[in-house]
């Protein structure tokens, strides 16, 4: 469960296990899936294909908006408020007369920043906690485990709220809050798996042959857990986009000087009874993008899972 979209990603323990299994199998011996087949497998599933297309469109939109938007996304002109969709304003205008399409186009940059930023932080926090929680002395491990449980009880939204109190509402706050929360969750999910790998024969063999802990981490653990993390992070990106929308609704999202989907939705939501079409657009692009990240995650999971591919199930 995701705690209504500002919480944490739901892990999928089975996949975590499978991926690590496959990946370690790949390390140990043959290469069941080369890079090209892996990529092809991703595109061969409808979900993978949609996910890739959606993310490519998002990134392209962000790129295009750097050089071109039909109107200045920040140019408010209340005399032009509430235009319906037309050829001049594809999606109409909002309550202060901005061109909704231009705001959404420019807002895709914010979405990319939030998604990538929080995923990076989640990765760093996740790897750090997971490593500390598996490679260190027993009492440290138990301590980390308890700490993770405590942090999980701290909802993302409160972390964001407290950060916003100290630093003011901003994108950075959203990114850090979402990133840290997801990182903690990923650590919780992958803890068992990392421990399993840490006890596996080849790691034990490596340790026995005199390899240091750091080396074990970089040579064996991280490469093996990487596919799991990538899938998790793709899902995290989806939730980051939703979290930005939720936090914007509560007034802790991007500030007025930054165009953002979540804030546009939050600004327009009261008007659903008066201008329903205007409220539709930001909701729609958020949904399609979140769907894209989710399906990309699913596609990656399936594409890197030999049993799924051999069994032909989707």
């Amino acid at each position: 469960m995701t705690t209504i979209q500002t919480g944490a990603p739901t892990p999928d323990p089975r996949r975590v296990r499978q991926l690590a299994r496959r990946s370690s199998a790949a390390r140990r011996g043959g290469r069941p899936a080369g890079r090209r087949t892996w990529w092809r497998a991703l595109l061969a599933t409808p979900s993978g294909l949609y996910g890739v297309v959606a993310v490519v469109v998002l990134v392209a939109a962000a790129g295009v908006s750097l050089v071109y938007t039909p109107y200045d996304p920040g140019a408010a002109n209340p005399y032009d408020q509430w235009f319906g969709p037309s050829l001049t304003h594809l999606m109409g205008t909002d309550n202060v007369g901005r061109d909704i399409f231009s705001v959404l186009l420019a807002g895709s940059r914010t979405t990319v920043q939030v998604a990538v930023g929080s995923a990076l932080i989640a990765a760093v926090v996740g790897v750090a906690l997971a490593a500390l929680g598996s490679l260190t002395a027993r009492w440290v491990r138990e301590g980390i485990a308890v700490l993770i449980d405590i942090l999980i009880a701290f909802p993302t939204i409160l972390v964001a709220l407290m950060l916003a109190s100290v630093f003011g509402g901003s994108l950075g706050v959203v990114i850090v809050a979402v990133g840290v929360s997801f990182g903690v969750n990923i650590a919780r999910v992958s803890r068992g798996e990392i421990r399993r790998i840490a006890r596996s024969e080849y790691v034990l063999a490596a340790t026995a042959s005199g390899l240091g802990r750091g080396r074990v981490l970089t040579r064996h653990l991280l490469p093996n857990i990487a596919p799991v993390f990538i899938v998790q992070l793709s899902w995290s990106m989806a939730l980051a986009v939703l979290a930005e929308a939720g936090l914007s609704y509560l007034g802790y999202g991007a500030p007025a000087s930054t165009p953002s989907w979540g804030r546009l939705l939050a600004e327009l939501q009261p008007y659903i009874g008066v201008h329903p079409l205007a409220v539709l657009w930001p909701g729609l692009v958020i949904t399609l993008t979140v769907l894209g990240f989710n399906l990309l995650g699913d596609g990656l999971r399936d594409a890197t899972d030999p049993r799924v591919r051999q069994g032909g199930n989707r």
């Binding site: 309550n95 109190s165 007034g251 007025a256 804030r263 600004e267 009874g273």
Partner: protein
């Protein structure tokens, strides 16, 4: 020294959106029929008090529901800004303006049955006078003694004339409480008003009930339930679904949802809500008058009014129409981006970046517009959206800001401009002198004339920009009469409220 006497951002912190207010009696249609004495009226409000302690807790959300309804003072304010006697039967001010004599009504009782004595009045006002932790303490700065001259008379002696005193006594400073009562002011209230406080469900609602033993004209409805609804859309829906009989502070952009609904009428009311873009007048680059003027001229105030759905009037100076000393000052800094750019160039600030601190519950529409307007003259605006508690700390207390945006809802708050320690940091000797003269003036006309003169200086010096003076919309269900519609965010006197059957 008078300390800042003003209400900035409407009260409680967690609330979203803003509050507007008003007080002309009579919203709603007058349908003939007999009043329903057993009626319950559900009223939608936005901002909830953090606490009910009328003595120590600031916030117009508290004044709004409790003053005039549960608590009463010697005198009270009418919607038109006049002072009328309440617990006092009559009052008299000596010619030198140094002695105020209040003759008390007979038979006034507290809601616990105790009779109101002159000693209660003296105790109540002395409490505020003596304890600097109490709200309204600084309003009594000129008062030197409060005495009961006989069982029905209370006399206040002043060290210097104070033309604001009666107005202030109609606020927190003059409320009469029972010396013998021991109730917890945080969650309960014992006053003399026409309604008793029945219950407060924090985060949800506050219920008043008719005081059947009221000493004056009794309330016409059995109970009033204030429901605190922060989501604008939820308020509209509650009204449409019949969960509310009155919705205050309706977002003008949403009011069209009531169109064609014969059951609901929208009343427009005036307010003293001044949506103020404050400048930190003490720090560079805003200590340069040309920069401040440029900002004022860069903003198209008609566009701001349009953005808030037309529920506003342009305001060119610190005093709104409802307050004494008002004058239309909108031509002091007319919209002129070209001139604004020239002023900036003259000041050597052609590529300026400024921070705007804004409490998060105000929404972002106006901020978006400001960013856009200022960009046109070459000013980059960074918007910092913060919690109200953070605003209080950073802007109000520590004065660590460049631009700030809050609603100064309180009426007659010009004194802030005469106080260089207020967060505006506005320090002008002429304004301070004129304000002192206004306070000391014996008659209201002179007082208002002095304020008018001072207000013009503040506007010409571009002490701040007044984005708009809000007009408040109140949606009232057919059959509900006597609900105030002016300044509803600061006072809601429900003495006339009735429901026709």
């Amino acid at each position: 020294m008078r300390s800042p006497r003003i209400l900035a951002a409407a009260g409680t912190v967690a609330a979203a959106a803003l509050v507007l207010t008003a007080c002309t009696p009579g919203g709603g249609s007058s349908e003939s029929g007999s009043p329903d004495a057993d009626a319950t009226v559900n009223v939608g409000l936005v901002l909830e008090p953090t606490d009910l302690d009328i003595r120590t807790t600031d916030g117009i959300a508290l004044d709004q529901v409790l003053i005039d309804n549960v608590y009463e003072g010697l005198v009270s304010r009418t919607a038109a800004g006049e002072i009328v006697d309440t617990i006092a039967k009559s009052h008299e001010v000596s010619d030198d303006g140094l002695t105020y004599t209040f003759d008390l009504n007979d038979g006034v009782t507290f809601q616990n049955g105790d009779e109101v004595t002159a000693d209660d009045v003296v105790w109540s006002i002395s409490q505020v006078k003596d304890d600097e932790g109490m709200q309204g303490h600084t309003d009594l700065a000129n008062v030197t003694s409060i005495t009961a001259t006989d069982d029905d008379t209370v006399t206040l002696a002043l060290s210097a004339p104070d033309s604001n005193l009666l107005w202030n006594l109609a606020g927190r400073a003059g409320l009469v409480l029972d010396e013998a009562a021991t109730n917890d002011l945080s969650t309960t209230a014992v006053g003399t008003g026409p309604y008793t406080l029945k219950s407060w469900k924090q985060g949800d609602s506050l219920t008043l009930e008719r005081n059947d033993d009221y000493w004056g004209e009794k309330a016409r409805v059995k109970s009033v339930v204030f429901r605190y609804i922060t989501d604008a859309n939820a308020g509209i829906n509650a009204m449409l679904a019949g969960d509310l009989d009155v919705q205050t502070a309706v977002d003008a952009n949403l009011a069209t949802q009531f169109d064609g609904n014969a059951d609901i009428e929208i009343a427009r009311g005036k307010t003293t809500d001044k949506y103020t873009l404050a400048f930190n007048n003490k720090v560079a680059p805003l200590n340069d008058m040309r920069v401040r003027q440029a900002i004022r001229m860069a903003i198209d105030h008609a566009a701001v009014v349009k953005a808030v759905g037309g529920a506003a009037v342009e305001q060119g100076g610190p005093i709104p129409e409802l307050d004494p000393g008002y004058e239309d000052l909108t031509d002091v800094a007319p919209y002129d981006p070209t001139k604004a750019k020239e002023l900036l160039a003259e000041a050597g600030q052609s590529n300026l970046t400024l921070d705007l601190t804004i409490p998060s519950f105000y929404g972002t529409s106006v901020a978006t517009l400001l960013v856009s307007e200022l960009e046109k003259v070459g000013i980059t605006l960074n918007v910092k959206s913060v919690e109200f508690a953070t605003w209080l700390n950073d802007v109000y207390t520590n004065k660590d800001f460049q631009l700030s945006y809050v609603d100064h809802a309180e009426s007659r708050d010009f004194g802030n401009w005469a106080n260089p320690d207020y967060y505006f940091g506005f320090d002008n000797a002429d304004v301070q002198r004129l304000y002192q003269e206004s306070v000391a003036a014996a008659d209201p006309e002179t007082a208002a004339a002095k304020l008018k003169e001072a207000a013009r200086i503040v506007s010409e010096q571009a002490g701040a920009d007044w984005l708009y003076n809000a007009v408040t919309l109140t949606a009232v269900r057919q059959g509900v009469t006597g609900f105030p519609t002016d300044s509803t965010s600061t006072r809601l006197d429900l003495g006339e409220l009735a429901v026709q059957e």
